[in-house]
Symmetry: D2
Subunit: 355 residues, 4 copies
């Protein structure tokens, strides 16, 4: 019963086998190999567009490097106040951008509202020398609250950003989870909606360690190779990243993995939602649930070996915060989550809550 | 006949199998897993000392992060003028250190001489505000010229550095290759000789992508976790790094791999050294050869599909530079180099040189 | 009628004359001169404590350099959401700290409340690797809203900060204005209340360009000389900074200048406060007023050549924001403000508001 | 007898009076005042070209900010191995550029030879991802050895740089000293010879603290205002910088001051050159002399209160280094140097050397 993180899983069998298969032979280092070329080509097909592709091993690198390509050191990066890039990367975006400022915006359930973006953009007028200059908007799809933007919502925010001369980055650590919920094409959810760069994450959803930074405007990527290299993110044996990405994208594998994760989240939400005293905070639209439940359920779950994180109640509006005797937790499903674990988890909560 | 790079190989079977075995199950992310703990423990045993260990995926990250822990932004990092950290990492040490200055020293065959270190240290007196302050000495073992320092040589340079308040870093991208040549213990080649931090590389010698930053003075490592995280170098599924390191170190595997590489280099050097018109530039002490040979040998080798890099003749003293009709090349052997490729390579050179 | 900025003034006659007097003779450069030594000594007397003093020419340099001495690159700097260091220095603190994160806190009238500091500190637990680490608290005295903290308020915030291992910086661009209002000693308002470093500003209050960074804990200042130098803030002819500081501090000159500014602000507030339709937003405790007034008053003032800035109504709570037909402005007095300008300004507002 | 530094002097009377005159009245801050506008206009006339001008208070800021506008963080800045930007600014160029690498070139008497620039450019091929990318060439005019480039020499180096896509910066801390020696126009010595940006220094030659960064290609300056601001180098009372620059440039004042300094250097060189046992190391072309003299002369001078710095003998070719009993020193003249001090200095040397 591990609902702590989608990073708790290993790799899917298919991805692992591809990695093993890629081991044979001697190939040019640092991405000069044919697998890397094939992965770049494959991503262009997946996104239905010529694009500049760079593989890296971590999501933090993918986000921070992508943002560094969009902002000068004196730039403002607009994001949700509780975005991963804001809260969970130990200042990586500031590091890679040489000191750009992340401007956090409020927003219910992890989503940025157009009105809040409007206010934020207005607070950073272009040309006002005493302030950092508007440079990038970073959206997470899915968000850190397990919710997703519709393509139309992305498009509206992107339009506003572009009108202010601001580039649009998509933190796609859970890109596939959002995609299968929306049931749209990768192109619809990105460049057709105005996204300039996507950090496409495979690690949380079946890869060992593989992320792709995909630039739809190749002009923005001209310096990226140098940035990746000096960041120490150009793997010497690049074929091992490429092999993961190719297998992951092959034959809809990534979507199948995401569908499983999402279905598990729905099953868990369905079961928990029926229990009195349990409340699910935000819409469950990907593979994460945020749940207020009795503390005695927490005790029982821990006793049974369940794993998950308590979450900051500050993320909830004051009236929605857990009362005494309750706790706010995050539950994450993944491609290896099993139905019986879900059912057992829910049963423990139900029993303890009724006690 | 691929002598281009030790990064052209994949992983050893043993390392790969360990990676596959590590895939099962659900474990805490970001290095909180038992394999990571075991790898840290194992490295402490290997180095016969309590130490602080951090695994990363690339050598550039390992070097640049290690150096960033030793220098303030206004520090001087002393290294060979053609060290990897100086020439081949696109400014990663400057990036991770927020702008420290690498001070290149001359030195025959890639090695720093005590007299040159003395001069360099004297040029950066502590407390002279207009200058960057002496902070770190970075030695490569083996060097970029395929040579190695004896333990006594390391100790002498380290003593001089420490006397000037300068910490000592060892770029051990080819640590194992040097170790088996010296036939000493890891402790002898590092902390017993005064090394404070070693970047221990497995990637070039049998791993997919795995390096360990090992601090012998744990006080110097207190901030390293944050630096690694904000550099995007904390892998979410840390067990995959640990599995590689454990298998690589297990039962002398790393030394066996290095012995093979080195033996291949010796065999190649032996064969080439007999050929008239061919000259080996520097002592072959690890798994690299630097060779002046006739251009017609180069033509014949390329025609036969051999791979290797031409090297900058500027690295040679003027009288040793290739004359017209000759070329200076680097040849690298690895754990997958085969004897028949060596013999075939040498035969082609011999035949073409004699033509 | 220039109420745009206290930077609109030149220097006081006394400061200017000291500058001229300092011109004679030949002295060691870069702060090695006797005037610089005397200024350092004088500041130690003023603060009743041995301290490390560094003179610079701008307030942004003073703040950003001071903060860079308190935080690692992966640190969090807590400040008011609309602090000068947050909003008006184009990212200088991020630049000088190599990418630290400024964490803005809300707070009425520019002041940080202990409860908000508590929440902010709780959001950045020490040792949580994925987050930047708590490093510094920056308070402005006076604040950007023209208000001031009592010594007890500073002490309470400083206690909370220190308990969390966080150093305390005071942005004293308007230090003297706050000091004369509190009628306390410089020591009371700083180190006795727990302040570790103060950026003491003279430029806005009678100097041409002179600020002092004063460290009460000299251990925190050991690297500061290098930081100032590489920031390009070590003036070659340091005596010109020292001469300003000495004259400014001499015989209570700085306090006289500040008293005049503050008295002008009170006189203006008194006059405007009587006018129907005019509202002063926050307590006038230093030399700034923030005023909601009818737009027709704005028109009349501009027609009469008055200078001041419109201010962001976002800084006001929604119910206090100007209605249609009204405008929110900032008015700043300085040591050169004249009473007749104040009276004329108020008369214009009164007449236009009554129209 | 102060020959320690041209920074030991104060300001010229004319500059000082202009500063005092600029004090009256109330003006927009941060460079929005009419004097700043006039100074920009005046510099455009002096350089016979529309240009983007930014005033700052220090030479280090001027150099480092200018270079940061020419290089990406992963760029190479080519300069003399003993340039001021390399040796005397505590890493400011690395800081402002977010980690660019300064590549030092050898060169007799502080001057870069075309052949050495060719070698350096060849060592940093564009597009080689593992290396920093060629970005800027920084020449000092006059050099740190007191020598100067002819306009033709500048033009040749600039042509080579531009052919490699490298911008050209001129460190003009002693611009006027070089200009009067060459007896050419500022335009001839800069943009007509291919210089893209000049750091024009007034501080060492009659100003209190004033330097101008002048961009001949305004496109390179679009971001400069932000860079200056976040570097803390935008003075709040900008008129005080402008007043210095205007007075300094007025009616050839800057050239008169430089002519005096240079003439003093010639007089001193003439006198010292006649003394047996004294050797002047490099051509005296500006206001600096580098002299090998007997240690007993040094003793006598010090006893008489003379001030100057011993200089690193490493800057001399081995056969030219001082023998035992001799010392290598730098002597700098300035606009306040007096003939009788020169004559007295030379007399002491002559007497002691003959002893």
């Amino acid at each position: 019963m591990d609902f702590a993180s989608d990073n708790a899983s290993g790799a899917s069998r298919k991805v692992l086998e591809a990695l093993v298969a890629a081991n044979e032979g001697s190939f040019p280092a640092y991405g000069g190999d044919p697998l890397t070329q094939a992965a770049e080509q494959r991503l262009a097909e997946v996104f239905e567009r010529d694009c500049a592709v760079f593989l890296v091993a971590t999501g933090t690198a993918s986000n921070a490097l992508a943002l560094s390509a969009l902002t000068p050191p004196f730039g403002a990066i607009f994001c949700h106040a509780h975005a991963h890039v804001m809260d969970d990367e130990c200042g990586a975006p500031e590091f890679f951008s040489a000191g750009a400022k992340l401007v956090g915006m409020p927003g219910v359930a992890g989503k940025i509202a157009p009105s809040d973006l409007k206010t934020a953009l207005a607070a950073y007028p272009r040309g006002l020398v005493k302030q950092v200059q508007p440079a990038a908007l970073s959206l997470a799809q899915a968000t850190e609250s397990g919710t997703i933007y519709t393509c139309a919502e992305i498009a509206e925010l992107a339009r506003m950003a572009h009108a202010a001369g601001v580039s649009v980055h998509l933190d796609g650590a859970r890109f596939a989870n959002a995609l299968v919920t929306l049931d749209c094409s990768p192109a619809d959810m990105t460049w057709r909606a105005g996204v300039d760069v996507v950090s496409l994450g495979a690690s949380k959803n079946g890869a060992l360690a593989c992320e792709a930074v995909v630039f739809f405007d190749k002009a923005k990527a001209v310096d990226f190779g140098y940035r990746r290299k000096r960041g120490g993110h150009t793997l010497s044996k690049g074929r091992f990243l490429a092999a993961q990405m190719l297998a992951w994208l092959d034959d809809g594998h990534w979507l199948q993995l995401a569908r499983h994760s999402n279905a598990c989240a729905q099953r868990l939400a369905g079961a928990l939602g029926l229990i009195e005293g349990v409340r699910i905070a935000w819409p469950v639209e990907a593979n994460e649930l945020f749940v207020v439940m009795p503390r005695r359920a927490d005790v029982a779950l821990k006793a049974a070996g369940a794993r998950y994180y308590e979450w900051s109640a500050e993320r909830l509006a004051p009236p929605e915060r857990p009362a005494d005797g309750a706790i706010f937790v995050r539950l994450v499903t993944s491609f290896i989550t099993r139905e019986d674990d879900i059912d057992r988890f829910a049963a423990i909560v139900a029993k303890a809550s009724a006690a």
